[in-house]
């Protein structure tokens, strides 16, 4: 019966559990018909273009093996770009080319990859190796975002992104996801990235989670993680609200990257946002959700 006391503790911290998320948030506020749009990055990008939400520029889309030779031509003129599956999830299958070394390219983890390797990776994406449900997929070749100077020293070999969770189109919680050397340039928490909680009002970071514990400094660089300002915070919130309304999901995770030149851009939307953001922020989502529910009831 010890877990009953534990349940009470979880409840008193206002934590949103997976059952409640599924029944009260996703089933009630996310229409099933919208899922294909958020699961396919190409459809999502088209939607963003229609409503005027900036996204990293797509240089090309490869739908068939016969088109793979196009990649080599595209690579000739670029030193850095991102190759990703249209229907991937959880950051899988994303190949980041950060720079060039002769005929080879530098991957985010510091290793080299040649043209054949890039072709092979793209063929794997086409065969559906990284797509949801293993269905055949398309390859997106995308411009690489430039690291914003605010993240110098806390984002080795990768670009951080901001995950915002919106409930009924209101911001409920946010975190900054930082890559580590261990996470190979990716910022996903379960792959060894760092989650940094953001105070919604000020856009200031207030606590950071790495693996199973709270930290104050970046494990690789030793730079402090808390009390930093997320640049262009107001714009980020506006973009997330706009995106949530555009896709029509009442409980959604919006991922935003901040480009040095172009400012906040939408990376992707998630119809089933994870619950670890609560641990990162050391705060439960349930109280936020109830607060928003009451607000909206009062407004009516």
């Amino acid at each position: 019966m010890r877990w009953l006391a534990g349940f009470d503790l979880l409840f008193r911290r206002g934590i949103l559990g997976i059952n409640r998320r599924n029944a009260r948030c996703i089933l009630e506020h996310n229409p099933r018909a919208v899922f294909p749009v958020v699961d396919d990055k190409l459809l999502m990008t088209q939607l963003c273009e229609r409503v005027g939400i900036p996204t990293p520029a797509i240089l090309g889309v490869i739908g068939r093996n016969a088109e793979l030779h196009w990649l080599e031509r595209a690579l000739r003129f670029r030193d850095s770009l991102v190759i990703k599956p249209a229907r991937g999830s959880g950051g899988r299958g994303i190949l980041i080319l950060a720079g060039r070394d002769g005929d080879s390219y530098l991957k985010a983890n510091g290793r080299l990859i040649d043209c054949d390797g890039i072709r092979q990776h793209s063929a794997d994406i086409l065969s559906g190796m990284y797509s949801i449900g293993g269905q055949p997929d398309r390859v997106i070749v995308q411009e690489r975002v430039e690291l914003h100077p605010a993240f110098n020293g806390i984002s080795p070999r990768g670009i951080p992104d901001v995950r915002l969770v919106l409930y009924r189109f209101e911001l409920a919680m946010a975190m900054l996801r930082l890559p580590t050397l261990e996470s190979n340039g990716r910022a996903n928490l379960h792959q060894g990235g760092i989650g940094v909680g953001i105070d919604l009002c000020s856009g200031r970071t207030h606590c950071a989670l790495y693996r199973d514990g709270y930290v104050e400094r970046h494990p690789d660089t030793g730079e402090t993680l808390v009390n930093r300002m997320v640049p262009r915070w107001g714009e980020i919130i506006e973009l997330a609200r706009k995106a949530a309304r555009a896709v029509g999901l009442g409980f959604v995770g919006i991922d935003v990257v901040i480009d040095e030149e172009n400012g906040p851009m939408l990376l992707e939307a998630n119809a089933r946002p994870g619950l670890a953001i609560q641990i990162v922020n050391n705060q439960g989502l349930l109280e936020k959700i109830e607060e928003i529910d009451q607000d909206q009831a009062a407004r009516r």
């Binding site: 877990w3 349940f7 979880l10 559990g17 794997d124 269905q135 606590c207 641990i279």
Partner: protein, 314 residues
Amino acid sequence: MRNSRTILVVATAAALIAISLGLTLARDPVAPAHSGSWKVTLLRHGEPVGVITIEQGTAADPRDLFPRAASNNAAHSFLVEPLEASEGMSVPFFSIDHLPLADRKIVEFLLLLPAATLLVCLFRNVVGLNSFGTFAPALLGLAFRDVQSVIGVLVVLCILLAGWLLRRALNRFHLLQVPRTSLMLSLIVLMLVLFIFSWHAPGGHRASVISLFPLVILTGMIERFWSMEEEDGAAASFRALISTLFISCLVWLLCTTPPVPGWLTTHPESLGMVMAGQLLLGRYTGFRIMELRRFRTMLAAPRHPIALTARGPG
């Protein structure tokens, strides 16, 4: 809105419970004594091997002398039935006693299946164990029941691990999904057939340890096992494999505890109870036990000093 939905679900569940309870109570509490002769069939592994008759006038009810076995596939069991239908003895409609042996097995399997899935629901949504698929543990557990030995579990484990290695080997061929899973099924069939032939090698006579395992489910499990290993690492996939086998073993335990199949086959209306349980679990929005582990870092840490109540600007 939300509350009315919950009330509707609870009311439906209550109605289901009431109907099944009512049907149970409406049944003849005691079957009228049969005064004629009885036929007792001795079954070995579900196959009839001998028949005896008990003449009229024995004091005890032969059904007490020859209790029904936990499983229809038990090493030894008895089938007790009246030699000829006597007058005044009503056979209830919902009774498996007058069914042929093969159908009896099917009905028992069918009635156990929903109970098994209820157990799976409980472990997935209340405990929070991650298993491969919803029905895999239920069907595997029922398959274990038929073989009635730990060997069955080991055979499944071996097939899964061998299939997983084959799946890894197949990966370099870059096959399309449908032909690939079909090929996996063929490979599993090959392994099973080879196993059966070597198990019943000439000269030795051993009891059967293989039932018709849910092969398709097994194929799906291997695919999920492999993709989970690729995506979330070997630790996550083995954890899911162990919890799947754990739930399967509990299903097996549930289905071989004599009162459970006994009650379900004599009182098929209890299906209403099982359905009520499934309905109620469908509206369970409380925490899962495994979430205590997931959020342990947060529970151990003190509440953050900054009060984060305000929402963003605007």
